[in-house]
C-alpha cells in the first residue's frame, strides 16, 4: 500500500484514547482497537470511562464517554498514565480529555463538531482549534462528518445513519496510524450488522475511508509500529473483569458439579455479571433478579440450603443492605459467595467511578462477632481465578466468602491466556448420604476443618432445622447457654482464621528485605507493580507484595513485613488495609491514599515511593 512516502517509527508501547459523546460509539472503537492490538500480539490494558449513570443531552460535558487503550511490545499492567494520541469527536470530549494527552502528543479532532452550539455546550468561549491554545500538540483537523457522509453517500442512508458510521472512520484512521489490520473489525461488522447489509457496508466504507485518509493526508507524516510482545505461547482472548468473574463462576460450577444460583439486584458497576451469567443457561446457571438486595442474598442462602452454590453480587449501597442476611449465612454456615464490585462512596456516591473503600465493611459490616473470609482480585483476568478460589473456600469450610473487585477491574479488559480446562483443578464437594439407623442427624458436627456437613433437603434421615439463633455445637439445636455461646463464637472465628493454614505464603517481588516494601491489594496491582518495577530497574532497594487474601491473611505476612524498614500501603481509600495491618501486626505501616474515583497513575506512585528511598 501507499505507505512508502511516510516515515515508519517503531515504538515499544503506545496509548490511545477515543473520546466523544455517549452516542458516538467510542466504547466500540476502543474495544475494536483492543482486540485488534491483542490479535497482532501486543500486550494490552484498557480503561473505559463512562459518563455517570444518567444520560446527558448530546454534546454536553456530562455526556462525554471515553476509552483508553495501552498496547505494547512488552508486558504491561496498566492502561497508561497519559495518552500519545487523543481522538476527540466533539468539543466537550476535547475539554474533558485534553489533560490526559502528553505534551506534543497527537490530537485528532472532528472539526465539524466544533460549531457554535458544540462550543457553547462545552463552555468554550473561543474555538480552541483556532485560538492557538492547542499549539503544544500535533493538532490534526479532520472533518470526519463530511468525509464519512461522502464515503457512504451512494448507499442512501439517512444522514443520522450515515453519521453513526463516524466512529468507524475514526477507527480506520487510528488503525492506519498504528499499522493495525482491518479484518478483525470487518469480521465484527459482518457478525453484528450482517442482517442489515447497507449498514454493514456503510461501516466498512467508513472504516476504509479512515484508513485511506491516514495514508494520504499530509498532516500525518509518520506511521507507528508496535511489535508483538513476548507473551507465553498459547491461545489468547481479550476479557473484561465482570465477564471474567461470571466465567469463573461457570468454571467453578463445572469443576465442582454444582449449579450456580445467582441472586442479585441490578446495580452499577456489578450488573454486567448478571447480564453475562444470564446468557449461559445451558450451563445450568440460575439467575434470579430479586426485588432487592435483601431478597438477593437471602434467596441465595435458600438456594445454598437446598444444595446449589449461592452467589450474590452487588456494589456499595447494595452490599450495605446485605449485612443482616450475611450474618444469617455465617450462623447457618452455608457456602455463599458475595461479590462486591466496589464503586465510589459513601452512599450513592460516584456510581461509575472506582474505589477500594468497602474493605472494612466486608470485615465488620455485620452485627456481633461475624467473621467472613475475604479475597480481592488484582486484575480483570484475575477475577476469574479469584471467584474459583472463593468457591473452593466456601464449600470446603462451609462459609460465606467475600470477593472484592472494583469498577476499574470490572470494566477494564486485558488479554487472557485461555487455560486448558483439563488443567483446572476439580473442586471436591461432599454431601452426607441417607441415614437410616434412626439416629438423629447432627447438622453441626465438625470435620477436620471445623466445617459442618452440607446436608441436602430431600435426603432421607437428614431432616434438620437451622436458624439465626445461637446454636449448640454438633446438634445445631437452639442454645442459650453462656459457655456454648463462647465456644461457638470462638469456633466460627477459628474456622475462618485457620483457612490461613491452607493458603500459599505471601510472595514478594524485589528485595526480600530492605528499605521499602510496598503492600497493595485489589485493583491497584497493575500500577503498583509497574511503579515498583521502574524503581527496581533503577536499582532501588524496594519490593512489592500484593495481598489477595484479606481475611485471613497469609500466615507469613507479619514476619515478611517486619523485614523492611518501611511498609507503605497505597490504597484508593483513607487507609483501611493499613488499619488492619497496624492493628494485627503492630507494624507502623504508612499509607499513600487517594479517593478520587480514579486508579493510581504510575508516576504518582513512583513519586510517593521515592520519598521512602532517599
Amino acid at each position: 500500500m501507499g505507505t512508502q512516502k511516510k516515515k515508519v517509527v517503531h515504538l515499544d508501547a503506545a496509548t490511545v484514547r477515543f473520546c466523544g459523546d455517549s452516542g458516538d460509539g467510542m466504547q466500540l472503537a476502543g474495544t475494536q482497537l483492543t482486540t485488534t492490538s491483542a490479535i497482532v500480539g501486543n500486550d494490552v490494558a484498557t480503561f473505559p470511562d463512562f459518563p455517570a449513570e444518567i444520560r446527558a443531552p448530546r454534546g454536553t460535558l456530562a455526556g462525554v464517554s471515553g476509552f483508553q487503550i495501552h498496547f505494547a511490545a512488552k508486558e504491561i499492567y496498566t492502561p497508561g498514565d497519559q495518552v500519545d494520541a487523543l481522538v476527540a469527536m466533539n468539543p466537550a470530549a476535547l475539554k474533558t480529555n485534553l489533560e490526559g494527552l502528553i505534551p506534543g502528543g497527537l490530537l485528532i479532532v472532528n472539526t465539524e463538531a466544533f460549531d457554535k452550539k458544540g462550543l457553547e455546550q462545552a463552555h468554550y468561549a473561543k474555538n480552541p482549534l483556532e485560538d492557538g491554545s492547542l499549539d503544544g500538540y500535533k493538532l490534526i483537523n479532520v472533518d470526519m462528518t463530511k468525509i464519512t457522509r461522502e464515503a457512504v453517500a451512494e448507499l442512501g442512508l439517512s444522514q443520522k445513519e450515515a453519521d453513526r458510521c463516524r466512529n468507524f472512520f475514526a477507527m480506520g484512521l487510528v488503525f492506519w496510524l498504528y499499522d493495525r489490520p482491518l479484518d478483525p473489525t470487518l469480521r465484527y461488522i459482518e457478525d453484528k450488522f450482517g442482517k442489515r447489509p447497507e449498514v454493514a457496508e456503510a461501516n466498512r466504507k467508513a472504516l476504509k475511508a479512515g484508513f485511506h485518509y491516514g495514508e494520504t493526508t499530509e498532516a500525518m507524516p509518520n506511521q507507528y509500529i508496535v511489535d508483538r510482545a513476548a507473551l507465553p505461547p498459547g491461545t489468547y482472548r481479550s476479557i473484561i473483569g465482570n465477564q471474567a468473574a461470571a466465567w469463573g463462576l461457570i468454571a467453578a460450577s463445572k469443576l465442582s458439579g454444582h449449579e450456580i444460583f445467582y441472586g442479585t439486584y441490578p446495580i452499577t458497576p456489578a450488573s454486567d455479571i448478571l447480564h453475562e451469567l444470564a446468557k449461559y443457561k445451558n450451563f445450568g446457571v440460575m439467575t434470579f433478579q430479586a426485588e432487592d438486595e435483601i431478597a438477593a442474598v437471602t434467596s441465595s442462602i435458600g438456594a445454598a440450603f437446598a444444595g446449589k452454590m449461592g452467589v450474590t453480587g452487588s456494589s456499595g449501597p447494595g452490599i450495605a443492605l446485605k449485612g443482616e442476611g450475611l450474618g444469617l449465612a455465617v450462623m447457618l454456615e452455608l457456602p455463599l459467595i458475595v461479590i462486591n464490585v466496589q464503586r465510589g462512596g459513601p452512599s450513592t456516591g460516584l456510581p461509575t467511578k472506582t474505589e477500594q473503600a468497602d474493605l472494612l465493611q466486608a470485615m465488620f459490616g455485620r452485627n456481633g462477632e461475624c467473621p467472613m473470609p475475604i479475597l480481592a482480585a488484582q486484575s480483570p483476568v484475575d477475577c476469574f481465578y479469584t471467584v474459583i478460589e472463593a468457591w473452593k473456600i466456601a464449600t470446603r469450610y462451609m462459609t460465606p466468602v467475600f470477593v472484592l473487585t472494583d469498577g476499574y477491574l470490572a470494566n477494564g479488559s486485558e488479554p487472557w491466556q485461555v487455560p486448558n480446562v483439563a488443567d483446572l483443578e476439580k473442586i471436591e464437594v461432599k454431601h452426607p448420604g441417607p441415614l437410616s439407623n434412626g439416629h438423629a442427624f447432627e447438622p453441626y458436627a465438625r470435620d477436620e476443618r471445623l466445617a459442618r456437613p452440607w446436608a441436602l433437603p430431600g435426603t432421607p434421615g437428614l431432616v434438620h432445622r437451622v436458624g439465626g439463633l445461637e446454636k449448640q455445637n454438633i446438634t445445631g439445636n437452639v442454645c442459650y447457654d453462656a459457655k456454648n455461646h463462647q465456644d461457638m463464637v470462638d469456633l466460627r472465628a477459628k474456622k475462618v482464621a485457620d483457612i490461613a493454614k491452607e493458603l500459599p505464603p505471601q510472595t514478594v517481588e524485589g528485595a526480600d528485605k530492605g528499605k521499602l516494601l510496598v503492600l497493595s491489594w485489589g485493583g491497584t496491582y497493575g500500577s503498583c507493580r509497574t511503579a515498583v518495577r521502574q524503581l527496581l530497574a533503577q536499582g532501588e532497594p524496594i519490593a512489592h507484595a500484593h495481598l489477595r487474601h484479606m481475611n485471613p491473611m497469609p500466615a507469613n505476612l507479619g514476619d515478611l513485613l517486619k523485614r523492611y524498614d518501611n511498609v507503605l500501603i497505597p490504597e484508593l481509600n483513607k487507609g483501611q488495609l493499613r488499619l488492619l495491618i497496624r492493628g494485627e501486626y503492630m507494624i507502623d505501616a504508612k499509607g499513600f491514599n487517594k479517593v478520587q474515583g480514579k486508579p493510581f497513575t504510575v508516576s504518582e506512585l513512583v513519586e510517593a515511593f521515592e520519598k521512602y528511598l532517599d
Partner: protein
C-alpha cells in the same frame, strides 16, 4: 429421632411429623392448634418428611419449623418468602412451606410477600394473624385495628390496618384462603387445599394470642355469635350464613349487601361463590367484607392455575441445553475472537 428414614412405613401418621424439640409457645396459644392441624394434614399428601421444607421468619409463629420433623429454616425477620424462593428454584422437587406472622409478613416482609406471590412459585404461605407482635411482647401490627392500645401505642394506633387477603389479591395471588385456629376441621381442609394447589397458595389464619391480644377473634369463635359473624364460602354455592342459614350476600351493582332470605329473596338472588374466576375481583370483594357490617368470609376465595415461576425458569435452562448442548468450558473459552501466540 428422625423417623423419616424409614421409607418402609406404609402410611405416615401425624406423629411422624413431630420433631423432638419441646414446644415453647404460651399455654393456650392458637399456634398449637395450627401446628396440630398441619401435622394431621401432611400425611394425606403422601410426601415423606425429608421432601418437605418449612421456612419461617422471626416471631412466635416463626418458631414453627423447630417443631416439625422435616427440613426447616428459622430465618430472619420478614425474609422467609425470599429464602423459600431460593429453596424452591434450587430444588423444585421439594414441598416448600412458608410460616409467617402478621408483622413478619406484612410489616418488615411486605415486599418479599408481594413478589413471591406475583411470581407464583409452587409453594405455600401460611400467615398466622394474631393482629399483634407477640414475640416482642405486644406492640400493634399492620393488621391491628385502628385505635388499638398497645405498649407502643398507649393512646391507640393511628394507622389503618392492612387486610392480608387484599394485599395478596393486589399482587394477583392464584390461591387465597382464610381460616381460624380453633376451626380445626376447616383449618385442616384449607391447608390441604393450599398444598394441593399448584402455584403460590396464600392462607391467612386468624390466631389468638392469649397473652397480648386475647379474644381478638372471639366474635368469630364464640359459640353463640359465630354462625352470624362468619361466612363460609364454597365454590359454586350461594353465600348464605346465619344460625338459621337465613341470611345471604347479594350484589347491588358492584357492592355486596346483606339480605334476609325469604320475603321474596331466594337463594338464586344471592351471590354465588366462584373460586375459579379469571379475574380476582370477586376475591377482592370478599377480602373487603368486615365485621360488623358483614359476616367475615372464611374458606378458599380464589383457586386458579397459572404458569409457575420455577417451572418457566427451568424450562429456559432445559431449552438452552437442548438447543446449544450441555455447557462446555472449552467451547466457552474459545468463543468469539481468540488468537494464538506461538
Amino acid at each position: 429421632m428422625s423417623t423419616d428414614a424409614l421409607p418402609a412405613l406404609p402410611v405416615l401418621k401425624a406423629a411422624d411429623f413431630a420433631s423432638d424439640q419441646d414446644v415453647r409457645w404460651c399455654p393456650g396459644c392458637g399456634d398449637y392448634s395450627i401446628l396440630a392441624q398441619m401435622k394431621k394434614m401432611l400425611p394425606s399428601l403422601g410426601i415423606p418428611p425429608h421432601q418437605i421444607v418449612f421456612v419461617s421468619g422471626i416471631g412466635c409463629s416463626s418458631r414453627f419449623p423447630y417443631y416439625m420433623n422435616t427440613y426447616g429454616m428459622h430465618s430472619i425477620h420478614g425474609r422467609a418468602p425470599a429464602i423459600a424462593t431460593g429453596v424452591k428454584v434450587a430444588n423444585p422437587e421439594l414441598s416448600v412451606w412458608v410460616i409467617t406472622g402478621d408483622g413478619d409478613a406484612l410489616s418488615i416482609g411486605g415486599n418479599h410477600l408481594l413478589h413471591a406471590i406475583r411470581r407464583n412459585l409452587n409453594m405455600n404461605i401460611v400467615l398466622f394473624n394474631n393482629q399483634i407482635y407477640g414475640l416482642t411482647k405486644g406492640q400493634y401490627s399492620p393488621t391491628s385495628p385502628l385505635g388499638k392500645v398497645t405498649k407502643s401505642t398507649p393512646f391507640g394506633s393511628v394507622d389503618n390496618p392492612l387486610s392480608p387477603l387484599s394485599v395478596a389479591i393486589g399482587a394477583e395471588a392464584t390461591f387465597v384462603a382464610r381460616s381460624i385456629d380453633v376451626n380445626i376441621k376447616h383449618l385442616g381442609e384449607t391447608l390441604r387445599r393450599a398444598a394441593e394447589h399448584r402455584g403460590t397458595s396464600f392462607v391467612e389464619v386468624y390466631q389468638n394470642c392469649n397473652i397480648f391480644n386475647d379474644g381478638a377473634f372471639s366474635y368469630l369463635t364464640d359459640r353463640d355469635t359465630k354462625a352470624d359473624t362468619t361466612l363460609e364460602v364454597e365454590h359454586g354455592k350461594p353465600m348464605i350464613f346465619g344460625k338459621n342459614r337465613d341470611k345471604g350476600i347479594r350484589l347491588n351493582g358492584i357492592t355486596p349487601e346483606v339480605v334476609e332470605l325469604g320475603k321474596g329473596i331466594s337463594e338464586d338472588d344471592l351471590l354465588f361463590h366462584d373460586e375459579k374466576l379469571e379475574e380476582p375481583t370477586l376475591a377482592y370483594l370478599l377480602s373487603r367484607m368486615r365485621h360488623p357490617e358483614f359476616p367475615v368470609p372464611i374458606g378458599v376465595m380464589r383457586y386458579v392455575e397459572r404458569p409457575i415461576f420455577e417451572e418457566r425458569l427451568h424450562a429456559q435452562i432445559d431449552d438452552a441445553v437442548k438447543k446449544r448442548g450441555e455447557g462446555d468450558l472449552n467451547k466457552l473459552f474459545q468463543s468469539g475472537e481468540t488468537w494464538t501466540v506461538a
